[in-house]
C-alpha cells in the first residue's frame, strides 16, 4: 500500500485510491458479478429462443405440410381461394402466405411482394416486410419456408417473428445495462472504501512517522469500532506502551550509569587537582597527578561518546527543526582553519534550505567526528570536500577526503562499536567516532554509506 504521507496532489490522491486493496477487491468482484449477470441473461435468452423459435418453426412446418397435401387435391382456383382465406384469417404479424406465378408476381396471400431471396426448398428464409404501424409502417422480421406448386408457381409460408426479435433486443440491452451498472456500483463502492481505508491508513502512518522519529508518547488513532484496522491499531498501541516502558527503563538505566560513572571520576579529578595545588610545578609528584587528570579527561571523552551513542540508540532525544544547511556550513567554517594549518583545502558546496527533524547537537557532534576523522587521515596538502545536496526535505550530506580510505571489506566493521583498524592505531582517538556517527544517523532515520572516493573515503548521510 502506498504511504499516505507521501501523497501530495489531488491526482496523486486519486491514484492512491486505485492502489488500495479494497478498490482492487471491488474491481475484481464487480467484474465477476458482471460476468455472472451476463452469463445468466445469455442463458435465459438462449432458453427462451429455443422454446419460442422451436414452436414457431413447428407451426410453419405443419402449415407447409398441410398446404402441400391440399395442393394435390384442390384445383388452382380452389387453392388460391384457400390461401386468400387463410391470409385474411390472420393478421400479417401472425402467419404469412404468398403464392406467386412463374414470373414471381403475387397471385394470392398477405405479403406484398416476393422477397429477394434465393433459397432452396425446405430451407429457412428470413426477410423483412413493411407492415402498418400506427400512421407509419415498420419493417418486421419474417421467418418462412417456400415450396413449389404445379405449373412453376411457388408458395411461401411463414410467420412474423418481429416480437421475438424485439424481446431479444430488449434482453440484450438489459444485459448491457446490467453489466455496466454492476461495474459502476462495484467501482464506486471500491473508490469509497478505498478512500476510507486511505484516510485511516493516512492517519496511522502520520502518527507512525512521529513515533519513528522518537516521540514514543504518540498513539495510533482508534475509532469506536471493532473492524480490522481498529483492532490492529489497538494492538499496535499496546505494543507501543510496552516499547515506551522499555525505552524509558533503558533511559533510566543510562542515567544512573552516567551518574555512577561520572561521580567517582569527578571525585578523582577533584582529589588529583586538590593535591596538585600543593605541589611545586614541575615536581615529579605533580607530573604523576597531571597524568592522572589527563587520563580522567580521556575517560570522560570515551564516557561522553558512549553515553551519546547509547542515548541516540534509545531514541529518547528531544527533537527540533534543524537547519541542516546552516549547520553544515557552520561546521565547515569551524573546521576549515584546522585543515588550512596542515595545508588541507576544505572545499564545500552546501545547498541552502535543507531541514531535518532531530537533535542539532548530536548532528553537530556527528559532523565534527567526520571532519575530525577526515582531517586526521588526510595527508598534509590534501583535500576534503563537504557537500550538502538533494531535496530540502531529503538532503544528503557527503564528507569526502583523499586520504588512505577504508578497504571495501572493512567498511562494515568500522561502524561497529570501538573498532579501530590497525592502520589507524597510530592516530589518536577513541575509536568511537564512526559508531557515534552511525547511531546519530540511525536516530535521524538516515542512511550511512561508506564509499571509495578514489582515492580516499566518502561518507554519505542520506536523510
Amino acid at each position: 500500500m502506498r504511504v499516505a504521507g507521501r501523497i501530495d496532489g489531488p491526482d496523486q490522491r486519486f491514484l492512491g485510491v486505485l492502489d488500495t486493496s479494497p478498490f482492487r477487491i471491488a474491481v475484481v468482484f464487480s467484474i465477476a458479478f458482471a460476468c455472472g449477470a451476463a452469463a445468466l441473461l445469455l442463458g435465459v435468452d438462449y432458453a427462451v429462443s429455443r422454446v419460442v423459435d422451436g414452436s414457431t418453426d413447428n407451426l410453419i412446418e405443419a402449415e407447409v405440410q398441410g398446404l402441400r397435401e391440399q395442393v394435390l387435391v384442390l384445383s388452382r382456383a380452389d387453392f388460391i381461394e384457400l390461401i386468400e382465406q387463410r391470409s385474411q384469417d390472420q393478421d400479417v404479424r401472425g402467419a404469412v402466405y404468398l403464392m406467386v406465378d412463374p414470373q414471381l408476381r403475387p397471385v394470392a396471400g398477405n405479403v406484398p411482394m416476393w422477397p429477394k431471396i434465393d433459397a432452396s426448398e425446405g430451407k429457412w428464409i428470413q426477410f423483412k416486410v413493411s407492415v402498418p404501424f400506427g400512421d407509419t409502417t415498420r419493417q418486421h422480421e419474417m421467418r418462412a419456408q417456400r415450396f413449389p406448386l404445379p405449373g412453376k408457381y411457388q408458395m411461401l409460408v411463414g410467420h412474423d417473428v418481429q416480437e421475438r426479435q424485439d424481446v431479444k433486443n430488449l434482453m440484450m440491452r438489459g444485459l448491457i445495462a446490467a453489466v455496466l451498472l454492476t461495474l459502476m456500483i462495484g467501482m464506486g463502492g471500491g473508490i469509497w472504501m478505498g478512500r476510507r481505508i486511505l484516510a485511516q491508513a493516512g492517519a496511522i502512518s502520520a502518527v507512525a512517522t512521529q513515533i519513528m522519529r522518537g516521540d514514543l508518547s504518540q498513539r495510533l488513532p482508534v475509532r469506536d469500532a471493532d473492524d480490522e484496522i481498529n483492532t490492529l491499531a489497538r494492538e499496535i498501541n499496546s505494543m507501543l506502551d510496552k516499547i515506551e516502558q522499555l525505552t524509558l527503563g533503558m533511559r533510566t538505566v543510562l542515567d544512573s550509569a552516567a551518574h555512577d560513572l561520572r561521580t567517582p571520576l569527578n571525585r578523582l579529578q577533584a582529589t588529583a587537582e586538590g593535591a596538585m595545588d600543593q605541589l611545586a610545578p614541575g615536581s615529579a609528584e605533580r607530573r604523576v597527578l597531571e597524568r592522572v587528570t589527563s587520563e580522567v579527561d580521556r575517560m570522560r571523552g570515551t564516557l561522553d561518546a558512549l553515553l551519546r551513542i547509547a542515548l541516540a540508540e534509545t531514541g529518547t532525544v528531544a527533537r527540533e527543526q534543524v537547519d541542516l544547511s546552516a549547520l553544515v556550513a557552520s561546521m565547515v567554517e569551524l573546521y576549515a582553519p584546522v585543515g588550512e594549518e596542515r595545508g588541507i583545502a576544505l572545499e564545500s558546496a552546501v545547498a541552502p534550505g535543507a531541514y531535518v527533524q532531530g537533535s542539532r547537537q548530536l548532528l553537530a557532534q556527528a559532523l565534527a567526528n567526520l571532519l575530525d576523522n577526515a582531517i586526521k587521515f588526510t595527508p598534509d596538502g590534501g583535500r576534503i570536500r563537504v557537500l550538502l545536496r538533494g531535496s530540502s526535505t531529503e538532503p544528503e550530506v557527503v564528507v569526502e577526503d583523499n586520504g588512505p580510505g577504508i578497504p571495501a571489506d572493512k567498511r562494515e566493521i568500522v561502524l561497529g562499536r570501538r573498532v579501530r583498524l590497525d592502520e589507524a592505531r597510530k592516530f589518536p582517538g577513541s575509536g568511537l567516532g564512526l559508531s557515534l556517527v552511525a547511531a546519530v544517523t540511525k536516530l535521524h532515520g538516515a542512511r550511512l554509506v561508506l564509499d571509495d572516493a578514489q582515492p580516499g573515503l566518502r561518507v554519505s548521510l542520506k536523510f
Binding site: D255, R262, T271, E273, D304, L307, V317, A364, G429, G433
Partner: protein, 227 residues
Amino acid sequence: MHILIVEDDEVARDYLAKALREVGHAVDVASNGLEGLQMASSMAIDLAIVDRMLPKLDGLALVQSLRATGRKMPVLILSALGDVDDRITGLRAGGDDYLTKPYHMSELLARIDALARRGESGSGETNTRLRLADLELDRMTRRVTRNGKKIELTAREFQLLEFMMRHSGQVVTRTMLLEGVWDYHFDPQTNVIDVHISRLRQAIDKDFDKPLLHTVRGAGYSLREDE
C-alpha cells in the same frame, strides 16, 4: 562574592569550597536540596552552584523554587547526567549555566566569573561599543579598530572578538567559546578553537606592540591589557 554550594558528594563539595575560598570567595555549603533551598532563600547569596541530583529536593526543583520566589542570583548547575537534553532541561528550569562532571576547576572558575560579571553589569549587553585599551568594537556598524586603524575580520572572527571583549579581563575556556560563539556542546578532538583564536590574534595583535589576547595555560584565553 558570596557563593552557595549545594552538593551531596562530600569529596567534590569540600574541594570546590576550598578552591573557591582560595580565590577569595565567601562560601557556604549545603548537602541536600532542602537545606540548600532554605539557605539560598534566607541568605544574601550572590551565586549558587547546585548539583542536579540531590537528596530530599532535586537540584532542578530547587532552582525552580528559587526562581518562583523571585530570586534572580546566577545559578550554575552541576550534573552527573549531562547530555544534550539534560542541559536544556537544566537551563529551562532556571539555571544560567550547566557543567557536566567531571570538570576541571579552571573551567568552573571561569564560568563562575562569567556568571558573576553577567550578574553585576546587566547593562553591558546593551552597549553598542566595546572598548579595551586601544581596541574598539562597534556592534552596530560591525567595525573593529585598533589605535584608530581599521581591522578586517570575518563574521565569525567578529563574533569571537565580541565574545572575548564582553568577557575581557576574565579567563574564557575553549568550551565556553564553542558554546558561546558557535552554540555547540561537545568536546572536539582537534584544536579547533585554538586555530580560530590564533587567527584572531593575527588580526588584532600582529601589528601592535602590546598583545591583548593572552593564552592562560591549562585554562583557556583571556583578552586583557597588561603585563
